[in-house]
Amino acid sequence: MSSYLRSVLARLLNRARVENDMDAEIRSHILHRAEDLVRSGMSPAEAERRARIEFGGQGRFKDEIRDAMGGGLLESLAQDVHFSLRVLRRSPGFTAVAVLTLALAIGANAVVFAVLDGIVLRPLNVPHPQDLFNIESRKGLVYMSYPDYADLRDRNRSFDGLAAFTLDQVTLDTGSGDPATVWAVDTSGNYFDVLRVQPYLGRFFHASDEHGINSAPYTVLSYTFWKNHFQADPNIAGRVIRLSRHPFTIIGVAPPDFYGAWSFFSPDLFLPFVNQEQLTGADMLHARATHSLMMTLGHLKAGVSTADAVADLDSIGAYLGRTYPRESTTTSFSLARPGLFGSFAGPAIRAFATGLMMLAGLILLAACANLGSLFAAHAADRARDIALRLSLGASPVRILRQLFTEAILISLAGGALGLWGSIQLLHILSVWKPVPRFPLVVPLGADERVYAAALVLAFLSGMLFAAIPARQAIRIDPYTVVKSGRAATGRQRWNAREVLVTAQIAICALLVTSSLVAVRGLAKSLRADFGFDPRNAMVMDTSFNQAGYRGRAVATMQDRMLKAVQAMPGVEAVGSIDVLPLYGGAPVSYVFPDETTELRASEATASAQTFKISPDYFHAAGTTLVGGRPFTSHDDQGSPGVAVINRNLAAKLFGSATRAGGRYFKLQDGTRLQVVGVVEDGKYVSLTESPAAALFLPVLQSPSMGTTLVIRSRSDPRQLAPALRSVMRNLDRALPVYIQTWEQAFDLVLFPSHVATYALGVLGALGAMLSVTGIFGVAAYSVSRRRKELGIRVALGAQRKEILNAALGRAFRLLATGSVAGLLFGILASRVLSNIVYQATPRDPLVLGSVAFTMLFLGLAAAWIPARRALSIDPLTLLRED
């Protein structure tokens, strides 16, 4: 290695020596010649001038000397680079546009690829992720009860162990006043063993640590939490912390980059599910009807196909359905990849990320096409120069090498710049906390592979777009060029470039359409009717179970909270609900007509999202009552069971909302409820869902631990926050509360739409910039090629309109064709979008109009300078020029 370096160094030194030698020798020659001339009677100044002229073109001879000395690849490379830099310096505009174009394309690709790699390509960060599956119902992601999970775990023959977990918020006693709320994954004891993860520090808990309820008071910290909250204390194992008032022993730390079974959620700690009673106050280990486990997953055994596994699970499901017909509601299964929340979000995210990657690829292609035409125009401008060099005997190979060196220099500069930008952007993304409340992480695959791929991509694009002008250059017939000033290029090649530009305009129109669709969808979802009104309202989450409330104490405290908040000035109404709509979904109840006696899940009229609310909730939430009455404080344990249902459920049960009042229906446990009111339909699980059934029960009759207060304000709701906090502190210091505006809480719901909109917006802007340079290139080239023709037209009395039409008509026809094609593709692509963004549809006059306007505007902006050039053509100047 060092000898190689030495030889490179020696060659470089030698090259410098040759250069010096050459200059000194030529100086010496001219000096001697000039003295001779002086001796023959010339004045010194004149002699000097004459000597220089006699010597001839120094640059050319130096080049020849370098050639003669050359031979070494390195020297000629350095020479090529030297010359290319000179050429590029002479046309800074071209260089800047080319480098920037490529930098944008490469940067966009690197970022999108890093995200795609992190989210989609890279499986979970656990060993052997390829045969890890989570178990879902055939209809999609489903919660499972612990007893059902235990049966699946013990009876299946397909999995190498089955683990299950759910997500939980627990209170960490920090020892200093306000308790901290942390995110915990409550897992089955075998969780780490099933995932085959090794501890970073200490040990993990195992199935053998579980001996029934509350038998395993252990916790494993996540690496990040250990670093941030325990200062990476190496002696952490053995320390006892209080979680929701119960002591837990820290036994180990999970490895860095292990986020559990999800790739985008970074929990703080892991707890054994058997101790869940201490945290939630409910024993779920024996409650087959309580579907408390979010996800069940495991590695398939070697040689077991997914079909075999599903058949195996289905037979267990059939057994469970027979044995526990009321409780075990999921009897047929399917398998999904766990990392992206199973089939709930996985396919949409994957489709979106893949679509994004394709768009980024298209942008790169467009950038290449653009650079191709930029280079072609540049080469055409230099046709005379190249022709001259060819006619003076420069070899075509040399000229080609020259062109390629230029292209590679530009692509490397562009690639490096793009990469630098993408590294900055990725760094921002990796520390970005999109939703402050939730520890979401953006998994990024930003590593050497991505960077290497980006540079290779840049290099290849360089070769690709250099090939176009190169082909053109070697076909140059020096004679024609020198004579006419322009290379006579074939008709066909010009058409190929037009196709490229049209394709690029189409891509731009596609991106513009998609981003406008997304923006419009997002705007609509901020103003849409969700069955509640998030404006002018605060929401306050509490956690009774974390603060140790049990039984009657919960209801009492709920009542005190509602009364205290209601008494605050500025509060219009306050209500409580167990789970805020669009906040992960409420429990689902099977609803049966009153006359049904066989209360089997398969016989249910509907499965309804079930919310437990306080009397004033509808008022506070802004939910419109369609008929009947809301709950009152008299709808309590002492009075008959009542319910409010939404229109959708009313239609399903009774045919229409008007016929529902006063009628009865049943729940699966046999409870008979009378409908006292009907409310408008709303969105309950996701913004993009189709109308679903919902059922509201009075919290006084169906007590619930979960309590979120919705506080409707008379003025700016944020002003209420400090007062709310102090009210809550007065009621119970230890009760953790989280206060935000409902619109802030909505950020989580809108997070996917925001991501989609930003991503598409950025790509759309990129596409627009590329289109402008593309159209500009075509138009400028067309004008400069046809200057003579246009000049003659002007001389013959053509009007401005005719000149413009002749000069730019073609560019605008390309623009129109490309825009229409892009719009059509955009309409097709919006189908993918509609899974992510609320009401994303391109069939919207505003969107269509905006796309047309944007494209027209881009066209005008790009054609402005060429048009002015075309109009300012003066036939007289033109005649004098040649």
Binding site: E25, I26, L31, R33, F55, F61, E64, A68, M69
Partner: protein, 113 residues
């Protein structure tokens, strides 16, 4: 000017070797020497001399070192190497053969056929 003949391609190297073989010379000196020994008949473009000189040095036929010229200016002096001397001999023989052959070919008369 019209009295001067253009150099045939490839002959410049030979002339340079010959000029230098008569004694060490700097670049301008080579030029003057060629003019002198060819009786001012051969025109060498001044700048074109240098690529040839560098090439011959690189091929090892000439060696160069900096020194002072008769006018007391710094100049690079060229000298024939052993290989250069050998090459000059060979090239001279080759050229003479060629010249003789072309001369006799061009002197041919119909009656000699």
């Amino acid at each position: 000017m019209s009295e001067q003949a253009q150099l045939l391609p490839g002959t410049l190297d030979l002339l340079v070797l010959k000029a230098v073989s008569l004694g060490p010379l700097h670049g301008y000196g080579v030029l003057l020497r060629i003019a002198q020994i060819s009786g001012q008949a051969l025109l060498v473009e001044q700048g074109a001399l240098y690529p040839a000189l560098f090439r011959l040095v690189r091929q090892g036929l000439l060696k160069a070192k900096w020194g002072l010229s008769e006018n007391n200016h710094r100049a690079k002096f060229y000298e024939l190497t052993a290989i250069g001397r050998k090459r000059l001999r060979e090239e001279t023989e080759g050229w003479n053969r060629l010249a003789a052959a072309i001369g006799s070919a061009l002197a041919a008369k119909p009656e000699e056929l």
